[in-house]
Symmetry: C2
Subunit: 374 residues, 2 copies
Amino acid sequence: MPFTRRDFTRDLASLAALGLAASAVPDLKAQSPTKKVGYAIIGLGRIADLHMQGIHESPNAKITALVSGHRDKADKYATKYGVPATSIYTYENMDGLRNNPDVDAVYVCLPNAMHAEYTIRAAKLGKHVFCEQPMDSTVADSHAMVEACKAANVKLMIGYRCHYETTNLAAIKLIRSGALGKVQMIQSAFGFSCGPKEWRLTKALGGHGPLFDVGIYCLNASRYLTGEEPSGFSAYAYSDPSDPRFKEVEENLVWVTKFPSGITASCATSYGAPTFGYYRVYGSKGWLQVDEAFSYQGLSLHAHYTRDAEKEADRTVDLNQPNLEKIPQQFVNEANHFTQCILTNKTPSSPGEEGLRDMKYIQQIYKSAGIEMG
Amino acid sequence: MPFTRRDFTRDLASLAALGLAASAVPDLKAQSPTKKVGYAIIGLGRIADLHMQGIHESPNAKITALVSGHRDKADKYATKYGVPATSIYTYENMDGLRNNPDVDAVYVCLPNAMHAEYTIRAAKLGKHVFCEQPMDSTVADSHAMVEACKAANVKLMIGYRCHYETTNLAAIKLIRSGALGKVQMIQSAFGFSCGPKEWRLTKALGGHGPLFDVGIYCLNASRYLTGEEPSGFSAYAYSDPSDPRFKEVEENLVWVTKFPSGITASCATSYGAPTFGYYRVYGSKGWLQVDEAFSYQGLSLHAHYTRDAEKEADRTVDLNQPNLEKIPQQFVNEANHFTQCILTNKTPSSPGEEGLRDMKYIQQIYKSAGIEMG
C-alpha cells in the first residue's frame, strides 16, 4: 500500500502523538480570519523573495514594510505586495520601524554574519524576529540574540524550514512509527560549488564555510531524524590552497557523530563540489532515503522495510513532491507557524535556543577539524 | 550522448593509459586455447559456488580438485564440474594436493579467520593461491601470508572482485578522465542485518565485525576511486549491549578518512541494519553514484557533470547492468586474470600486499573507534 501525500496530510494531526521533537511539529491549526500580523523584511535577496511569497500566501500574515540598501529593489517588491512608500526603510533609518504600527515582526534575510546585529536591533525596536539560519557566526553572538529577544519580550524563531516541510516530516513520522526498527546509522550530505564572488566566501559576511552555511542542514537533520542530541563529533576539513575562493573559509568538511543511544552519523559538506542534499536512515528493519532533502521543491522519499512481526509483505513507501508547486510550501508553513505563535503567544517550534544548539555543535566540529571558529 | 556498456567494453584497452592504479586494471588479453590452469577449491560455501562458476566460464581455467569437510557437497560439485573422486580432499588430507599434477593453484573460500592458515598451507604445498578478502584477521597473519607465498615462489591474489567488475571500472575511468573535475569527497556504505547464527558474529571464524567483512569494500573503494592511500582515519562504533548477536564483534561503525591530496571520505558499515552498498563521488564539476556497488549483479552507475570548458551541454551518464546475467561477470574476470598471471608469470593486480594495506588501515580505524583488533 503506497503512502501518499493525502495519507500524510490526514495524519499530520497525530504527529505529536508519535513523540516527535517539538521542533519538528508544525502548528497547522486553522488560522483566524480577523487579524493579520505585519512583517518587515530586512534584506531583499533570494531567500527574502521566497519568504515574501510564503507570507503572502499565509492567511494571517502580510508584508507591511521593507528594509534594503537598494531602493529600486524595494520599490519593485513594494508594488508587488502593496507596501506603502512610507514603509520602505534603509539600514540607516530602519529604527523608524519602532513607531510603525503596521509592523509586528521582522524577517532577517541578510548574509549569515549579519544575523546577530539585525536580530538584536529589531528586538530592541520591540519587534518579534524571524531569523534565517545559520543563526550567527559565533556562539557568543547567538547567545546574545536569545538574550536580547528575552529582554525585549519578543519571540525569536530560526528559519529551520525543514522542520515545516512535508517530506522531512513524513521521514520523521516513519522513523517514529517504528517501521524501520531501531535506527542504527544516518548518512547525509549537502553542498554546492560556490561562485568566486559570493559573500559566502568571506568571514565578514559568510561567517564561516560550508559546514556553517549548508552542512548545518545535515547536522540538524541528524538531530530531528533521531530526536537525540549528539554526544561527540570527529571531523576532517580541506581547502585547496591553490583555489582563490578558499582563503577565508573551508572548502570541504566531513564528520562523524555519535548519539547517546548508539546511533552514528557520517556527513559531508562542500563549497567546492556540487553535493546534492540527501540523507539515508538505516534501521534494523529497513531504510529510508530523502533526495533533494534540503531543497525548496522536488523532494522525494523512498523507504523499504520488512514487516515480519505482522507476517505482512515487505513494504515500500514512495512520496514524491510535485516539482512545480507555485510556491514552495515550506515557506508558507513557516509563515503560518510564526504568525500563529505571535497571535496566540506561543514559543516557536524552532526557537533561538535551537539555533544556539547547532552553533555549539558546529563549534565542536570545527574544533575537531582543526579550524578556529573564533 | 549516453555512455553505454559497449562504449565501456571498447574503451577497456585504454584504461591503463588513463593512469588507473594497477590494481584496478583487469588483464583481458586474449586467452591461450592450449593450456588450462587447474584449481582446487578449498571450502564449498556460497562464495565458492560463484568462483567455481567463474572458473568454469574462463577459457584457460578448470576446477580439478575440491577440499571440503562435507563429502556430499563435494560429490555434488565433483559431478557438476567433472572432478575425479580421487581429487576430493578433506581438511585433514589436503596435503595430498602437493602431488596432484592437475592442481596448479587453490581458491581459499573459507570463513575470514581461516584465510591465513590455509593460504600458508597451500603455499607450502607449492600451489598458487587465490584468497578471498578480507585477507586475514590480523596484520601479522596477513604479513605472514605474503611472506609464505614469496618463500614458496607462488603467486598470491586477494579476491578484490570490484577491481575486475565493469561498473566499478567505468566509475574509475570517468573519474580519471577528469569529467568530474577535481575529486573532493566520497561517501559510501555497505552492511546487512546479520542472522543470529552466522559464523561472522564470532571472533574465531569471522575474525572481526562488519568493518572487516563488508566495510572493507567502502574502504577499498575510497582507495581505488581516488588512486590514493589514506593519511588518517577517525571513527565511532556502537554495539547494542542487549543484542545477543554483538557479544564478540561490533554492530555499527562509521568513519572519516583523509587523503594526501585533500580528498575526504565518510563511510558507514553495519551488521545491524540492511545497508545497501553504494558510493558517491563528488567532484568540482559533477558527481557520480554507483548503487549496488559491491553486489554480484545489478550494479548501476549514474553520473552528472558540466562540460563548460568545451562549451558543451551538461552530460548525464547512466550505465545499468542487466540484473540477470547468467553468471556474475566479475567472477569470470577474476578467474581470467589470475589464470593469465599464472600462465604468463605476472603479479596479480590485487596481490597480497593490497590486502595487507587494507588490514593496516582497518587496524587504524578500529583503534580510532576504541576497538582492540588483536
